[in-house]
Amino acid sequence: AQSVSQHNHHVILSEAASLELGCNYSYGGTVNLFWYVQYPGQHLQLLLKYFSGDPLVKGIKGFEAEFIKSKFSFNLRKPSVQWSDTAEYFCAVNAQRSSYKLIFGSGTRLLVRP
């Protein structure tokens, strides 16, 4: 069965620090990969996605993620976080040969201190 692991459950950073959130998945076939964000009191929003092509994808608000197929990873990065990045971040995978359902990780709560 497919699964997604997010190893950091809680991350606390100061503004301007760099961010990297880990995401690993278990599935041997071709996948689509996503990062979603949930700001306090808001619903899930797409940050970025990878379907094919350049493994380094850029999303909204200065976020980027790199797909490393050999490591089954899709880590999220941002060079300099802001207080407004405080949110919960979810990595998700869709196996291309299955239905379009998303398999989510358990999420990482990021707190950015001003």
């Binding site: 808001q42 619903h43 899930l44 797409l46 979810f90 239905s99 999420g107």
Partner: protein, 112 residues
């Protein structure tokens, strides 16, 4: 344009009761998904509709859960004989076929 909407936003019910949760997808989106999110967890897939038919219902936990989408737009998730373990936020998402899923605000279900 309007996003995905879900009603009610909150539902409190007693153990053993029947509940219906409604989802209005983005207009024109043919695919509709239901997920369930428990506290401290990521969303968990329940069922996926393509048009009026359930293309994948492998995530429904048992036969107390059922969902319909009779006209290929609005969907209703139905839970019979609710149990305390059904308490969660129920999320709906929609997409144009195979593309990004847009999520609604969710319905918080509390079973007392």
């Amino acid at each position: 344009g309007a996003g995905v909407s879900q009603t009610p936003s909150n539902k409190v019910t007693e153990k053993g009761k029947y509940v219906e949760l409604r989802c209005d997808p983005i207009s024109g989106h043919t695919a509709l998904y239901w997920y369930r999110q428990s506290l401290g967890q990521g969303p968990e897939f329940l069922i996926y509709f393509q048009g009026t038919g359930a293309a994948d219902d492998s995530g429904l936990p048992n036969d107390r859960f059922f969902a319909v989408r009779p006209e290929g737009s609005v969907s209703t998730l139905k839970i019979q004989r609710t149990e305390r373990g059904d308490s969660a936020v129920y999320l709906c998402a929609s997409s144009a076929h195979g593309e990004e899923q847009f999520f609604g605000p969710g319905t918080r279900l509390t079973v007392l």
